[in-house]
């Protein structure tokens, strides 16, 4: 029993030091905030994204190309984060002519849509991010399309 109490004390001491360091170090996390989201990111939920799709928004798929070819938002163009420069060059004219751009990726553990959105913004193309990405879209029952064609 004493062994367990002592082991627990080590864990509690570590947790306490961690929380204290987080609040005192000046570079701690905001505990309730998603670390993928940075100031300036525009997040849209699936319902708002669908409304914007119906009004002509251009969707960009930031997942690896294999995932795009399996299934994607109808009309979406592939812009995989790992091949951003090449993919961006291929679709740049279309992007420059779009008034509303929304990026999505694989969902909760995926940061690609945030990274791609920021890279686009640096190049003068503002782009919103589909909050919770592809799973949110499919779980809402919105249309999807298979294959290489947008």
């Amino acid at each position: 029993m004493l062994f367990v109490v002592r082991a627990l004390a080590i864990v509690i001491l570590g947790c306490g030091l961690g929380l204290a360091w987080n609040s005192a170090s000046g570079r701690g996390l905001a505990l309730s905030q998603n670390v993928f989201v940075k100031p300036g990111d525009e997040l849209v939920d699936a319902a708002a994204a669908k409304t914007r799709l119906d009004k002509g928004a251009l969707f960009l798929d930031a997942r690896p190309i294999d995932f795009y070819e399996m299934s994607h938002v109808p009309g979406a163009l592939p812009l995989p984060e790992e091949h951003f420069e090449k993919a961006f060059a291929a679709i740049e004219p279309r992007l420059r002519g779009s008034f509303d751009v929304i990026v999505y990726c694989a969902g909760y553990g995926c940061e690609a849509s945030h990274i791609v959105s920021r890279k686009l913004k640096q190049r003068g193309v503002p782009a919103a991010i589909l909050h919770e990405g592809w799973p949110a879209w499919t779980e809402a029952g919105y249309p999807v399309r298979e294959g290489k064609q947008p």
């Binding site: 082991a7 080590i10 001491l13 570590g14 947790c15 360091w21 505990l31 998603n34 670390v35 940061e111």
Partner: protein
């Protein structure tokens, strides 16, 4: 052996303590404790700021020989948790490019079989230390 295991855990904690945001980002990639539709980012963020310090405290205790068996037990439990997280990610086909084991920004170790084997080896060392006779023993009959 306690010195070596402690050194591994102290070293593993340092980059995570320096860069909690990068460590939280890696925890998100595992998709085990959130964030998700049902789990807010609070839990992975809490783990990101506390787990490295538990590693540090347990590692220091192993090195200096204070509460060595208890510290070894804590490292053993952490290793079981790490193995479960890596195994879960691999089972679900999630590609973890940087396991967050030692370095949390840039290039790190990929979560895979090699990582599992090294964690199992460390777990064996932790288990050995838990079962070992305390250092305060004065002889075989103490």
């Amino acid at each position: 052996m306690g010195l070596a295991l402690g050194a591994v855990f102290v070293y593993a904690s340092l980059d995570k303590i320096a860069k909690p945001l990068d460590f939280a980002r890696i925890l998100y990639h595992y998709q085990v404790i959130g964030p998700s539709a049902t789990l807010p980012p609070l839990l992975p963020n809490l783990v990101a700021v506390t787990l490295p310090w538990v590693e540090l405290v347990a590692g220091v205790m192993l090195i200096v020989g204070v509460l060595r068996r208890e510290a070894a037990a804590v490292t053993g439990i952490l290793l079981v948790v790490f193995l479960a997280a890596v195994g879960s990610a691999l089972y679900r086909g999630i590609d973890i490019e940087n396991c967050g084991c030692f370095v949390v920004s840039g290039e790190g170790r990929r979560a895979g079989l090699h990582l599992i084997l090294s964690d199992v080896a460390l777990l064996a060392a932790a288990a050995f230390l838990v079962r070992a006779r305390p250092l305060t023993s004065t002889g075989p009959d103490a």
